[in-house]
């Protein structure tokens, strides 16, 4: 296998379309004209590089980075996994940014008016960096479900938002990690916007091996980003 200087295409059989009527906010915000193809230039093959220098000492521990006078409420979890490219190569030393609701389903964000309690010991945002094998880990509490105004009795499933850079602007990804067995998944138009064969990639796996005894339940979530296209050696 030899690497080319091109990045693998955005796989539209994996990603949700812009216009997805059940998610009502897409209606006025989805581009209506076809995307224009572009041959990757340096602008697309390069991208912002963030590694360990972008991460503070408590950034990977959401149970401590917002604590004022105690521990946050909720089930303590450890989320770990690998970031790979779509040839299966690890993506090392790349920044992951995460944000989430607290255990009661409330975001600290000022526009979240859901009358569930703010947790004075939980902020809900953090960062970590993958190691040489593409592995990452952060600690948090399991986020709660919360209602939203998309349709009558609409509730978002438990989820954690992820933002990743990978190795180029083309590998940029913002996604959401869900939890196994959540009955709200089959009712959620954001989760369901992803093509059916791709949806399960958004659901983490509970892992007793990743679970830390007497401390935190373990969830494994591997993430696959676009990477350099490979070409077969044989003619």
């Amino acid at each position: 296998m030899a690497e080319t200087d091109q990045i693998t295409p955005r796989d539209w059989s994996s990603h949700p379309p812009y216009n997805h009527p059940p998610y009502r906010s897409t209606e006025l915000r989805a581009p209506t004209k076809p995307l224009i193809p572009i041959s990757h230039t340096l602008s697309e093959r390069t991208g912002p590089v963030y590694g360990h220098d972008g991460v503070g000492p408590l950034d990977h521990d959401l149970t401590r980075n917002g604590a004022r006078n105690g521990e946050p409420l909720g089930e303590r979890i450890v989320v770990t996994g690998r970031v790979l490219d779509d040839a299966g190569r690890p993506v090392p030393h790349t920044l992951i940014e995460v944000w989430q609701a607290n255990a009661a389903g409330r975001y600290i964000h000022i526009v979240d008016q859901h009358p569930a309690p703010i947790d004075p010991n939980f902020f809900g945002a953090g960062r970590c960096v993958t190691d040489a094998d593409g592995r990452y880990r952060f600690y948090s509490v399991k986020p709660g479900a919360y209602p939203w105004g998309n349709h009558p009795n609409a509730w978002r499933p438990n989820h954690i938002h992820f933002s990743l850079f990978g190795q180029s602007l083309s590998s940029r990804l913002v996604t959401q990690m869900y939890f196994p067995g959540d009955p709200l998944l089959d009712l959620d138009p954001i989760f369901l916007a992803s093509p059916s064969e791709a949806r399960n990639r958004l659901i983490s796996e509970f892992s007793i091996d990743a679970t830390e005894p007497e401390f935190a339940l373990g969830y494994v979530f591997d993430i696959v980003l676009r990477g350099r296209a490979a070409t077969p050696m044989e003619a």
């Binding site: 200087d5 955005r10 949700p16 041959s39 230039t41 920044l95 902020f123 945002a125 940029r172 996604t175």
Partner: protein
């Protein structure tokens, strides 16, 4: 390697309405350090100081107040601060990363506002430009566009990417220069829909 790779891309999902405390915390007043903001220059950055500002408009023409815009660009010499730009004469500017990020929820007019420098041409036939990534509630997959500059008519005329865009839509990619007492401002509105719908690329 078999044809059937198990390594399929993880689907994109929207940033939702609550990204600010995670991704643009300092701009929104949260006490969580930000990795980037709208100020992409420092005192020592080389190049012409410019301001890039605009709004994101939805299909009803209303400004979007929960979008996040990211910029990525070359430095004043047309070089990128990234190992993939391995040109031998690589003229890195240690005072310029090339990356900026700004949310539209703070400014009273819901503008994004970047202080940056005008990028140099990369020397590969492309006109000077800035790559733009658009995220918002209601956008399940981020959108890519580009900013070109209204005072680079000749270079724009021979730019291969601009030339790949239908002629009647090229203007949506060109930021209008306005020389103000505070310095040059390039205005660039992003129209998600409508007659002036911005060109988005399948990057």
């Amino acid at each position: 390697m078999s044809q059937e790779t198990p390594f399929k891309q993880t689907p994109s999902q929207t940033v939702g309405p609550y990204f600010a405390y995670g991704l643009t915390p300092e701009q929104y007043g949260y006490s969580h350090a930000a990795i980037a903001d709208g100020i992409m220059v420092s005192g020592g950055t080389e190049g012409e100081r410019i301001r890039v500002e605009g709004r994101v408009l939805d299909g009803a023409g209303d400004p979007v107040n929960d979008a996040m815009i990211e910029l990525w660009q070359a430095n004043a010499h047309g070089h990128y601060n990234h190992p993939e730009d391995a040109r031998e004469d690589n003229l890195l500017d240690p005072e310029f990363s090339g990356f900026g990020r700004f949310g539209t929820g703070v400014d009273a007019e819901n503008r994004f506002i970047f202080s940056t420098i005008k990028p140099g041409a990369a020397g590969d036939g492309q006109a000077p430009h800035i790559a733009v990534v658009v995220f918002m509630r209601g956008t399940l997959s981020h959108a890519y566009t580009r900013i070109y500059f209204s005072d680079e008519q000749d270079a724009n005329g021979s730019d291969p990417v601009l030339n790949s865009v239908p002629q009647d839509r090229r203007q949506t990619l060109i930021a209008r220069r306005d020389d103000t007492p505070g310095g040059p401002v390039y205005r660039f509105d992003i129209h998600m829909q409508g007659e002036r719908e911005t060109v988005f690329f399948d990057v």
